[in-house]
């Protein structure tokens, strides 16, 4: 009997030992898996994000009016853009972002388009400082990201002479309502840009934009002002010195997944002899699976022609109506092919925004522009 008492615990240990050890091991392994998974999540989520976009294409027109820089010869080179963007997360709230762009039209010389630090103290507020794109009109801050736009080219009446990056700071505040949200953004800084022989410089520029969306409709308004300095050496125009320039814009868009309707109206005012220009466009598109055909009508006209002497007027007066039809084809996720035909007319008395010299010398009254483009985002 004594022997039995002695053997019993031993037998029990032999029987239960392995299962206990096994359960222990399984729990341990499960824990290890959870820890590993958390590490994987952390690595892929928090550290570095790399993104980029690429565009290339072909643009050609039937004459030398110079619409969007097009000529009668093919210009594959000019439409090419490649950008790389990286975002480093320093903490849950602080991120550093930089974007480098190379443009075919600028011999692919890489340029730092963005370099900023962003801070998100709460889920509603975002503060940024550094070099950024000016969020002037609805598509301004991603004007070069062709993939994010329905068109082969953003409507030139509004976006033809859009300013680029500025150095400054902005603050954006989002209020989430039951079925909609409102985002208000304040921005300010200085801008410097060289376009060919012209150099543009806007000092002490500031602005306010606000947009409301219910996920189908979006309404947006913007107001901005700054001091403009402009030197256009080759055109023989007098320089602009510290003239107040202001921008006003309203926009509305509708996207229910099938219909895609976008319209904007903008007003640019510059003190002095430079033109005050009103512009607007309406774009209607419809998705049919991977294909999205669209049609756009755009208009632009200077409002202060009588303030300019005739010589300046023939160069700086602005007047144009344009019609575009095109199609976007989403070949695969991240890549879209676009084809576009644009007809612009009515600019013989207001060639500003086009090649004024060619329009005046050759007496061009209208132009047909054909564009074929590939846009990718990754």
């Amino acid at each position: 009997m004594k022997v039995l008492y002695r053997i019993c615990p031993l037998a029990l240990a032999i029987v239960t030992g392995p299962t206990l050890a096994q359960a222990d091991e399984t729990a341990q392994m499960q824990q290890q898996i959870v820890v590993l998974q958390q590490q994987v999540n952390k690595l892929s989520q928090d550290r570095i994000n790399l993104n980029g976009f690429f565009s290339t294409g072909y643009i050609r027109s039937n004459n030398d009016a110079g619409y969007a820089g097009s000529t009668t010869s093919s210009e594959v080179y000019d439409l090419s853009v490649m950008a790389l963007q990286s975002t480093f997360s320093l903490s849950d709230q602080v991120q550093a972002t930089m974007q480098i762009i190379g443009r075919g039209s600028e011999s692919w010389e890489p340029e730092m388009e963005w370099a900023y630090l962003s801070y998100r103290p709460t889920s509603e507020l975002q503060l940024r400082a550094g070099k950024m794109r000016q969020p002037l009109f609805m598509y301004s801050d991603f004007l070069e990201v062709g993939y994010a736009q329905p068109w082969a080219r953003a409507p030139q009446t509004v976006y033809g002479n859009s300013p680029s990056s500025y150095v400054g700071a902005d603050a954006a505040y989002t209020i989430n309502l039951e079925n909609s949200s409102i985002t208000t953004q304040l921005f300010g800084g200085n801008m410097e840009d060289k376009k060919g022989s012209a150099s543009v410089d806007v000092r002490n520029s500031f602005g306010l934009s606000t947009s409301w969306t219910n996920y189908v409709w979006t309404l947006r308004g913007v107001i901005s002002s700054g001091e403009l300095n402009l030197v256009a050496t080759n055109a023989g125009l007098p320089p602009v010195e510290e003239e107040r320039s202001s921008y006003l814009g309203v926009g509305v868009s509708y996207d229910d997944g099938n219909w895609q309707i976008i319209s904007e109206a903008t007003r640019t005012e510059i003190d002095g002899f430079y033109p005050d220009v009103d512009s607007a466009y309406l774009s209607v598109g419809h998705r049919f699976g991977a294909f999205t055909p669209y049609a756009v009508i755009g208009w632009t006209e200077s409002q202060d022609n009588e303030e300019r002497p005739a010589m300046l007027g023939s160069f700086l007066n602005t007047e144009r109506t344009e019609y575009s039809v095109g199609v976007r084809w989403d070949i695969t996720s991240g890549v879209a092919l676009k084809a576009d035909w644009t007809y612009a007319t009515g600019f013989e008395d207001g060639p500003n925004g086009l090649d004024q010299q060619a329009v005046l010398v050759e007496g061009i009254e209208d132009t047909n522009v054909y564009t074929f483009k590939i846009d990718a985002a990754f």
Binding site: Q45, Q99, N176, D256, G257
Partner: protein, 131 residues
Amino acid sequence: MKKTVMMLVASLLLSPVALAEVVVIGHPSITDEVSANTVRDVYLNRNKAMTPFELAEGNAIRTEFHNKVTSRNDAQLKAFWSQQVFTGRGNPPLTQSSVAAMKAAVASTPGSIGYIDSADVDKSVKVLLTP
């Protein structure tokens, strides 16, 4: 007769899809009630209180989820996120390559949400909502 057979075949083919129902899952730490609007805001970068995960593009459950919750298809989502990314507003949710990976990611990330077929639910995750 041909028509009936065709319809029978079609219904057989369609039935597994019809049975599948997408559910929104979350990390067990999420105790508050979550509405469909909140889930939509989280997946459209308007609410950063939770971390969303996605299934891969083309996945039937992903399509159904977005159909019901964000009303956006894959191409729209891709264009939407390229706007967000290239205006510095944020990055798209992390994509999980399988249902198992989705469940593991949600189960191991506090404050995260995802979506799976109701048939794949187990006790590692919590069902928050059936949209």
